[in-house]
């Protein structure tokens, strides 16, 4: 869109046709069928989760015996399920939340640190049998992979 707006060399016919096309693209989808298709897909994808969300607010008896759509006509709201799961019962979920946090924090930070170190080592250590094509093209073709790679520090100022 910006290409057409800034160049003043477009002919009068093009100049009048182009802004209207960009305008329609910005306003909505290019055709009502596309809007309908996108809406159908979005609704289909959301319905199952929405059903579960509504079911979580219904009493147990209702969930076992009727479908969640009856909630829309005959709402019977209760927070009992949430209270039961989070705080009551023999195994409150709050304990499980703590476990999840305790597992997540190390299992995210430790691999990132290890991988960053290894990536730094791989990026800046010059292996004799490197497979990086950009690096290999600047070396002689006789450089073959030996049984033991000798890593050395790669720097632009150091002589080969």
């Amino acid at each position: 869109m910006t290409v057409l707006d800034t160049t003043g060399t477009a002919g009068p016919g093009l100049a009048s046709a182009a802004p209207s096309r960009s305008a329609t693209a910005k306003k909505g989808l290019s055709s009502p069928w596309a809007s309908l298709a996108a809406l159908v897909i979005a609704v289909l994808w959301t319905i199952p989760t929405f059903g579960l969300f509504l079911s979580s607010f219904r009493p147990e008896r209702d969930v076992q015996r009727t479908g969640w759509w009856t909630f829309l006509t005959n709402p019977n709201l209760t927070f009992e399920n949430y209270a039961d799961v989070l705080f009551g019962g023999s195994q409150p979920l709050s304990g499980f939340f703590v476990n999840s946090i305790l597992i997540t924090i190390p299992s995210v930070t430790i691999p990132i640190i290890l991988a960053t170190m290894a990536a730094y080592g791989f990026a800046w250590t010059r292996f004799r049998c490197a497979t990086r094509s950009s690096w290999r093209s600047s070396r002689s073709r006789s450089c073959r992979c030996r049984s033991r790679c000798c890593p050395s520090w790669r720097s632009s100022s150091a002589p080969a």
Partner: protein
């Protein structure tokens, strides 16, 4: 264990890790002399490589070895386990199901994700629309399986009994009898596959949307000036431009599908002819205590996944090089 004990364990783990890393970096720094570069490079790479050796290569080797032993890992039976996988009827059914999963899921998930990404690209509600499709990815596989179990739920069509599953309710509203979908072989596999498509379409849509936005705008402008619009723009301009990304998405979803275990286990437990290789591997190893068979199934998954991974890495290099 109280909360305090758990927090203390976390603290100890982090401190020990920091100390080990500090020692490694300190040793790398102190190295002087001719071989300083070697020591530095090796010190940086060593922790990751060591963990890979212990956590990946050694168990993989041990599993490969175990696949040639019998149930109690005592006697050598050669290729017996593998032969059974390909000849025993219920295991052949398992292989057939896995093939269905691997063929149907990536193609449909990528197609839906691609179509949706193109449809909502550069519209007003793009962020909200994408969030709706991406939401299932944030739900764990088990949660998704439970959601869909509710959708497929069946109640017999008698007086005073209402349907609680959405699909059966639609059938009843249309005047048909409710159907217990989970029991119908082999179509119940398709029902489980729908769950995976529901989840993975969000991933496909996100990656492909980024790829579509990366198409140079002058190509699209030139095409629009030529009068190309809509479907022809999609097939002649958009699709060829994002081809590497599409291949990466398809292979990534294939790898995820070969590992699917939770969905099958939660929805049917592997019964009614819906088991897949990953679920069967769990059954054999831990329920039937047949370690040899379980290891052989794990090796089959590995052999199936390796070519896809190699192809995926090569395609990703092409995407990066562009």
């Amino acid at each position: 264990m109280t909360l305090l004990d758990k927090l203390l364990q976390l603290l100890v783990a982090v401190v020990v890790f920091a100390a080990v890393m500090g020692i490694v970096l300190f040793v790398a720094d102190r190295a002087r002399g001719r071989r300083t570069d070697v020591v530095s490079g090796v010190a940086f790479i060593a922790p990751a490589v060591l963990l890979l050796l212990v956590g990946l290569l050694y168990p993989a080797g041990r599993t490969a070895l175990q696949s040639f032993l019998d149930a109690g890992s005592a006697g050598f039976v050669g290729l017996d386990n593998y032969i059974r996988i390909f000849t025993q009827p219920d295991l052949v059914v398992v292989l057939r199901n896995t093939l269905l999963w691997v063929v149907i899921t990536p193609i449909l998930a990528t197609a839906i994700g691609l179509v949706y990404a193109v449809l909502v690209d550069r519209t007003r509600f793009e962020a909200f629309a994408k969030a709706l499709i991406f939401l299932p990815m944030a739900i764990s596989f088990v949660g998704a399986a439970i959601i869909w179990k509710f959708v497929y739920a069946y109640r017999p069509n008698q007086q005073n009994i209402q349907q609680i599953g959405l699909v059966n309710q639609f059938l009843v509203w249309l005047g048909f009898e409710p159907v217990n979908f989970i029991l119908i072989e082999p179509w119940n596999n398709l029902l489980l596959i729908v769950v995976m498509i529901w989840i993975q379409a969000g991933f496909a849509m996100t990656v492909l949307s980024a790829a579509i936005k990366a198409i140079p705008s002058d190509i699209v402008e030139a095409a629009r000036l030529d009068g190309v619009g809509g479907l022809r723009l999609f097939f002649y301009i958009t699709l060829p431009s994002i081809r590497p990304a599409v291949v990466v998405v398809i292979t990534a979803i294939s790898i995820a599908v070969l590992k699917v275990f939770d969905i099958v286990r939660t929805m049917t437990g592997g019964q009614f002819g819906t088991s897949v290789v990953a679920n069967e591997f769990y059954l054999q190893s831990f329920r039937l205590s047949n370690l040899g068979m379980g290891s052989a199934l794990a090796m089959v998954i590995f052999i199936l996944v390796v070519p896809i991974v190699i192809y995926n890495v090569r395609q990703m290099r092409k995407v990066d090089a562009r």
